[in-house]
């Protein structure tokens, strides 16, 4: 990628081209870019009929020019400098699919400054710099569309902003990372260990060579920040979000959760209460017979609770070349529809992002109330259980469900789902359990999320 040299002069808006093709300049032609090119080519007539105008990729910026030329053919201009694309007067929309944050941010802002609409599937970019980018777009009167950034094949951005627009959203919860859902599904089905399941995911192409962002909850957190912002009209608060990954989940907890009637999923949850917004990504137990528990493999799902619509769930692939292309092209068609409108026609859609910036704070995780799963290794005898229950009762924690089990390998364990209690209280109580004479090892604590 060339170093950027962004001029600071004001730029005239590009000439409108309301009846000709929508001219798309693409930054990057990797997995998503080539998928977008392929779907646009294959379904050209269909998309044109539906959109009312042709969508034509006219220019592509790529590092490997010969490879890019081979993908897009001779009709498309292939350039090495992405600035050439974002500044070009004959580009109406910039599709950013290079990934990363630093260069992508500069290019997107420069595209906006040049009056281009922007379509991106870059969740990290938007979660970290979205407020700046959306603000620049609003001031310049252009659209920034990002359907592909959240649960790619699922039109959840559209569902939240348009389909459920009549609703005060109460909560949003989602399985937002396909890699970690694949790993947890495998662990649940076969008793596989985390590291084995991860290797399998890598072998099958469901996980990157460096899977950190997928398994540490970061990627799901980026998506949840976007969902919460749309759902509650709040700024992007990835910075305030406690994020926990799945690397410490053991097959034992999969089995024990199952025995208690639950499954473990990496769940992003954003919930509004009168006190504020709860916001978190972590592995959590959900009822085994809930619809969300049936979302397996690399699939994603988002559940939304609206005050009028009630609970809706939106399910589909969370990654993939053409799956993301489906979202990118839907955004391009939206650009066509809105670019044909007078400015007041699309500003509201844009403005939704921060429609009436909620003044509610993000609540500290310790203050959140919920049920918890505990796996407590205990010694033989009646004494151990009484001790544990007494210690919990002292902290005001009661059991909702409990099982006294003895596993061949792990020995005797007390499995428990608590009644609702504050996170801080449960954390404190678990620390105390370790000191009890009847407790013979580390206590595992996981949250139970109430959705559906």
């Amino acid at each position: 990628m060339h170093p950027l040299s962004i001029s600071e002069l004001p730029v005239a808006p590009p000439p409108p081209s309301p009846s000709g093709p929508l001219r798309v300049g693409m930054l990057g032609i990797g997995v998503v870019g080539s998928g977008t090119y392929a779907v646009l080519a294959r379904n050209k007539a269909l998309i044109r009929a539906r959109a009312g105008r042709e969508i034509r990729i006219t220019m592509v910026a790529a590092r490997n020019l010969p490879r890019a030329r081979k993908i897009v053919g001779p009709q498309v201009e292939v350039v090495g400098d992405p600035l050439h694309v974002v500044q070009h007067p004959e580009v109406d929309v910039v599709v950013e699919v290079i990934g990363g944050c630093t260069v992508a941010r500069q290019l997107v802002l420069e595209a906006i400054r040049h009056g281009k609409h922007v379509v991106t599937a870059n969740k990290a970019l938007l979660a970290l710099h979205g407020d700046e980018i959306f603000d620049a777009a609003r001031r310049r009167g252009v659209m920034v569309c990002f359907e592909g950034a959240v649960a790619v094949s699922i039109p959840i951005v559209k569902a939240l902003r348009e389909g459920l627009t009549a609703n005060r959203i109460e909560w949003v919860a989602g399985i937002l990372n396909g890699t970690s859902n694949f790993i947890l599904s495998r662990m649940s089905e076969n008793g596989t260990r985390f590291d084995e399941a991860l290797r399998e995911a890598q072998r099958l192409g469901y996980a990157e060579a460096d899977p950190s962002l997928d398994v540490n909850g970061g990627d799901a957190g980026h998506k949840l920040a976007l969902l919460a912002s749309m759902a509650f009209g709040m700024p992007l608060r990835f910075d305030a979000m406690p994020v926990e990954g799945i690397a410490s989940i053991q097959p034992a907890d999969m089995q024990c959760a199952e025995r208690l009637g639950y499954r473990i999923k990496l769940l992003g949850v954003a919930r509004r209460s009168d006190a504020g917004i709860e916001l978190r990504v972590r592995p959590a137990l959900i009822p085994r017979d809930s619809l969300m528990a049936g979302v397996n493999g690399s699939m994603n799902a988002v559940m939304v609770k609206g005050d009028a619509a009630g609970v809706t769930m939106h399910y589909g692939a969370g990654a993939g070349s053409e799956q993301t292309a489906s979202a990118v092209i839907a955004d391009l068609v939206d650009v066509i529809r809105n670019a044909n409108a007078d400015p007041s026609g699309f500003v509201p859609a844009l403005a939704f992002h921060q429609e009436a910036m909620t003044a509610l704070p993000v609540l500290p995780q310790e203050a959140c109330i919920g049920r918890h799963y505990l796996r407590i290794p205990i010694h033989e005898g009646e004494q151990a259980i009484s001790e544990v229950l007494a210690a919990l009762t002292d902290n005001g924690i009661a059991a909702d469900k409990r099982l006294d089990t003895c596993d061949e390998d792990r020995g005797r364990e007390l499995l428990m789902v608590t009644q609702p209690a504050s996170e801080a209280v449960v954390a404190q109580a678990v620390l105390g359990l370790a000191a009890l004479p009847g407790v013979r090892g580390a206590v595992v604590k996981l949250a139970v999320e109430e959705i559906g």
Copy 2:
């Protein structure tokens, strides 16, 4: 309702009101109408911020004027004559929530003739008269929106037409009637008989006093006709759709399906092949561990297979006052967005309905290929099974799975899921089975649908 007297004179379009409130005239103020009024009132500021304009119900036509006045308060004009609403120059959009087909059709067409956009949740009206209504709207340059007509709380119309707009749709399948899904769920959970479960549904308000359209598949068929039309760009072909209800489903088949690894759901399926379009509503078996099998109670779900996005599923309430209001209001916001556009901005959205009218015929059901569930009461001894298998083999039908069972009440039965075979061949073979000496009663045949 007053008799209609529709003038045939051409009518001037209403004056645009692009910055003031969107003025809504509502026909009927029953369950959906009053829910729409309530949600608009409760979430007024939110909806205004998101839509960019206020949505104001200015006029309501109702049979019971005092009751209507009590619901909407003194700011809204309540009239007895619905024609007054559809012809009124100060109404921008007509919301049709009176139901029925005859009067509703005339009112909707008259509203269109007067240049009003129309929002309706009336699936029967659109399934039977949609081609005429959409054609009139296209010629007049107004929108007809119907998100509430299909799986009310789920924004599936928007998902199909906009979110998945890049996709060639391969199939759509759905649990499209909440009443029948409630009844089948109850039968599956408790072994309840159909008539008992129906009475429970009526007691809980999930079924009308006259539940025919819900349990005979007709209502699901209306919705499937709309889904297929959008998915494949085809005319509305409710007339060509084989529709079968759930009244003949026995608890025994619920149990037997479960033993074979399936659940029985009332399923609408629309599938495109090179030969044509398959289109049908019927109770069918789907794998017990599929996501669709987890859709229980009065909930609805629609699964869509697109060539780029793959399979997505969309789940939510299939009925309810505010659930439908959520869809009606989303449509009103869409009217605002598109009515702010120049005509070319919304015609494509409208035109999608029949974007490139597919020339593919609706396939006769007999020609469709699929697997089938058979429950065959047989006499004791090895002979009976050999006879049945031989008779099926003679017809070219092989078993995919079979179970030789003996129920306390029903006696010995051969349960079977066949390998794929044409519907005509299986139907013929089943007729033949009745004549075998080893078969001691009526054979039950149900289809297995391949989705997901």
